[in-house]
């Protein structure tokens, strides 16, 4: 019974997050393909914990496979072209980081953050991170949240 409840809750959370991302290219990455993949970490947070930091949806994906990094970057850049505000940095012809503010959805701010730590100067790591966030938090609050 406990297992069934957990499965139902997981499906509900995933579908809620998916609805919020509807129409975005990165939605393809959140279709569950990385849930059991080695070297990938996917986190979906909604509800109380998300609201605590001014969000309604927090969806992150970290992948260590270099091949996947190209796919993630491509989709992020596509969605980024529709952003109303963006902050990007390219290194060696590749997107190092991108912080995109998307059009509001039902009055909620929406953000995409991308970081390729392979391109870090100090201590590169084979990790590409993508975060989709939705909520009342403004871009400065979001940056504060995801930056040490």
């Amino acid at each position: 019974m406990k297992r069934i409840t957990i499965i139902i809750l997981t499906c509900l959370l995933t579908s809620m997050a998916a609805m919020a991302q509807k129409g975005l290219n990165i939605n393809r990455l959140f279709d569950g393909r990385y849930k059991k993949a080695t070297g990938a970490t996917e986190i979906i947070v909604t509800g109380y914990q998300a609201r605590e930091i001014g969000l309604t949806v927090y969806h992150s994906l970290s992948v260590t496979d270099k091949g996947q990094a190209e796919l993630v970057e491509g989709l992020v850049v596509k969605d980024g072209s529709q952003a109303i505000d963006k902050e990007v940095e390219y290194r060696n012809g590749q997107l190092y980081y991108g912080f995109y503010t998307l059009k509001k959805n039902k009055g909620e701010n929406r953000y995409i953050f991308y970081l390729n730590q392979n391109l870090a100067r100090k201590s590169p790591k084979a990790v590409v991170t993508l975060i989709y966030m939705e909520g009342s938090a403004n871009s400065e609050q979001i940056k504060k949240l995801i930056r040490k």
Partner: protein, 285 residues
């Protein structure tokens, strides 16, 4: 947006350096992408996509003369903090754990009638640990210890029930299947120090205070197909004893050595069994 402002600020600065009035080169509303590249001979600004046209492209080249010095300021790395990510590597100073299951065997150097000793227990049913995060850990805890001393044949434990004094006697004539064992159970309070060496090894040094809550002598033998099992309770053991120990562990497994200098019995209530050495294996110490 900030990038665009910076870009044009840079361009203006270059223009000023050439002692000319600042001229606007071009204004591109909402570009999709701005790429600035640099070569030893000059800088290149490439703008891709605009508000009106996705396939818009604009390139601006600035050549440096031979004496020019190019100053570049590179942005720092983005130190990512992933919310909700539980870091498996995160370490804490304080922790409460259960640790140190051990089994050992040994001998008492003070009393040659003791054949062998066995020892097992859980060093820390619960312990409070302080980790310096620099390779050392201190802990204080509470655990359980059990010791068994068996006598060399043909000797066996006997007890005068009037005085509760334990002595040594011989088995009756014609006995077989003989054993005589003294067992002591204790609640122990270990205080220990651990030094980690590399990722896998650690050395443990410590001492325990034992509160010997229970002791029993059990003598078992068989005569003419009749089994005799004699137990003596009410033994006057030393209630408090102290041990020291050391261990060397690799990952979760280790070997330990434990020394008990204290006499098992209260003075005058039994043979002097002390200076006991135990050697054994320990898990998760």
């Amino acid at each position: 947006m900030k990038k665009i402002v910076l870009l044009f600020a840079t361009m203006l600065a270059i223009a000023q350096a050439q002692a000319a009035a600042p001229d606007t080169v071009t204004v591109i509303e909402h570009p999709n992408q701005v790429i600035i590249t640099e070569t030893p001979t000059g800088s290149l600004v490439k703008v891709i996509g605009s508000k009106e046209k996705d396939d818009y492209s604009y390139t601006y080249t600035m050549q440096h003369s031979g004496n020019d010095t190019v100053h570049t300021s590179q942005s720092t790395d983005w130190e990512l903090n992933l919310p909700f990510m539980k870091s498996s590597n995160k370490e804490y100073h304080w922790s409460i754990v259960s640790s140190g299951l051990y089994f050992g065997a040994g001998l008492s150097t003070s009393y040659d009638m003791v054949n062998n000793c066995f020892n097992w227990g859980l060093l820390n049913i619960a312990s409070l640990n302080y980790n310096t995060l620099h390779g050392q850990q201190f802990s204080i805890g509470v655990g359980y210890d059990n010791q068994r001393f068996s006598l060399k044949r043909p000797n066996c434990f006997v007890m005068d029930e009037a005085t509760n004094i334990v002595g040594i006697d011989s088995y009756p004539e014609g006995t077989v299947d003989r054993s005589s064992v003294l067992s002591v159970r204790a609640i122990q309070f270990p205080l220990q120090f651990q030094q980690f060496i590399g990722k896998n090894f650690h050395i443990t040094l410590g001492g325990t205070m034992n509160w010997n809550v229970y002791a029993k002598c059990n003598t078992h033998y068989k005569v003419n197909k009749t089994h005799y099992d004699v137990s003596y309770r009410g033994i006057k053991q030393n209630k408090l004893t102290f041990d020291v120990y050391g261990a060397l562990s690799y990952n979760r497994f280790g070997i330990y050595c434990r020394y008990s200098p204290c006499n098992v019995f209260k003075k005058g209530y039994g043979p002097e069994i002390k200076n006991t050495w135990m050697l054994g294996v320990a898990i998760a110490l």
